[in-house]
């Protein structure tokens, strides 16, 4: 096709006239930026963007919040990313637990949680370790540091998840996947190459306006060519080999386990838990936590929203009883939750 007049990424998107195309942005930060930048409006009507399950807050089951509140009620100081503070558990959030007297510290980094534990010897401190491959190394560094310093008052409450088996579970949900740039900055691109060989197409995307629009342009253009493909459209950050030191660190401290994804159910071997050698920093074991089963609001359709099976506005609670100010489901809490993005950015309004 050389010699053809060059188009900008936005022009390529606007000019797409092929068959209907479903593109799933797996990553919640992509969802957030796509809404924030109004990128959907650059797409022709037959290209649909589906928001996937890549928001750690949204896929964290209700029972995890209940576990955190159980710890707080047993005198443990909870350290957490701000994202989790307002997520509803079965009967309350960390914000409501804090209002009732629980100690809940918002931190920027798990390493700050270790620093807090160091400075508060008399308190037991647990860090809520959520997140995917991008975030796990930070939690592992924190746990290693606590062990190295001999801190006996720091532990992780883990709900970490990994992407490979989630991709397998999602493979029929879209025609092209927009892969999460920062997950693959850690794990590299081999998995995406393998998926392309199995017929699953994808583009690895960055997060700036240029990067997102370009990745989408690559996706529609390549999809039009008909062959399964993989393109790393974020090479300034993602190397094919990823960050091997980070992967080794994860494997040193953690091992795969079956885990529940809110909305997707249990995906085998898609979670991470601390190995027995690190039981001393495992909050569940340190504090003898019982098994806690969470109960989500039965009317909440976060699950289907996360699978791309329904739009947020199809949920009976959306905007009526479930709003960013008073969220019922996790998808309404997180800045990158589909429901929150849909509500905040007006859904069909614009």
């Amino acid at each position: 096709m050389s010699g053809q007049e060059r188009q900008t990424a936005a022009q390529i998107l606007a000019a797409y006239d092929g068959p209907p195309l479903r593109i799933m942005e797996v990553c919640g930060t992509h969802t957030h930026e796509i809404f924030r930048l109004g990128i959907r409006k650059l797409l022709p009507s037959q290209v649909e963007l589906i928001s996937g399950p890549g928001c750690p807050v949204c896929v964290t089951p209700v029972g995890f919040i209940d576990e955190a509140i159980w710890l707080a009620e047993h005198g443990v100081t909870i350290t957490t990313f701000g994202d989790l503070v307002r997520v509803p558990g079965t009967s309350g959030s960390l914000a409501s637990a804090r209002a009732a007297g629980a100690r809940v510290q918002v931190v920027y980094s798990p390493l700050d949680a270790v620093a807090y534990a160091r400075e508060h010897e008399g308190e037991q401190v647990a860090f809520l370790s959520v997140g995917f491959e991008t975030t796990v190394p930070a939690a592992c560094l924190a746990a290693e540091q606590a062990v190295a310093e001999g801190l006996s008052n720091f532990s992780l409450l883990t709900a970490n998840k990994t992407m490979p088996n989630a991709y397998a579970a999602l493979r029929d949900s879209a025609d092209v996947f927009l892969y999460p740039g920062h997950v693959h900055a850690i794990i590299g691109t081999q998995l995406c190459e393998d998926l392309a060989r199995q017929g699953v197409s994808g583009v690895l995307a960055g997060f700036t306006a240029k990067e997102l629009v370009t990745a989408l342009a690559v996706a529609v253009r390549k999809a039009g060519e008909g062959e399964p493909f993989f393109v790393n459209a974020y090479p300034r950050v993602v190397r094919p080999e990823g960050t091997p030191v980070a992967v080794a660190l994860i494997n040193k401290l953690m091992e795969p386990c079956d885990t529940e994804w809110r909305g997707l159910g249990v995906i085998p071997q898609s979670g991470l838990r601390l190995r027995d050698e690190y039981a001393a920093v495992d909050a569940r074991r340190v504090h003898g936590m019982p098994h806690i089963e969470g109960r989500a609001n039965p009317a909440c359709r976060c699950g289907e929203v996360l699978r791309g099976a329904c739009k947020p506005s199809d949920c009976p609670l959306f905007g009526r009883g479930c709003t960013p100010q008073h969220p019922v489901g996790a998808c309404m809490v997180s800045g990158e939750g589909s429901c929150s993005a849909y509500y905040q950015y007006g859904g069909d309004l614009l």
């Binding site: 990424a9 992509h30 997140g131 997950v183 253009r221 960050t243 030191v245």
Partner: protein, 70 residues
């Protein structure tokens, strides 16, 4: 999934770097990366540098578009 911050390394000491993003500075761990030097750009997530990067997206996106016509 993971908010990343592109920031410039200003100083390094014992596996910790001071990074600067438009004048906002913070300690971040560079334990995951080899050979980071002052002046390098890194992608920071949750207080950890997860990758050494180049700081501008323009060149790269231009090349990607160019490749579509190859």
């Amino acid at each position: 999934m993971c908010v990343g911050l592109s920031a410039k390394v200003v100083r390094i000491q014992d596996g910790t770097a001071i990074v600067d993003a438009s004048g906002a500075r913070r300690d971040v761990s560079v334990a995951l990366l080899d050979e980071v030097e002052p002046g390098d750009y890194v992608m920071v997530h949750a207080g950890i540098a997860i990758a050494k990067i180049t700081d501008e997206d323009e060149h790269e996106t231009d090349e990607l578009l160019e490749a579509l016509y190859a």
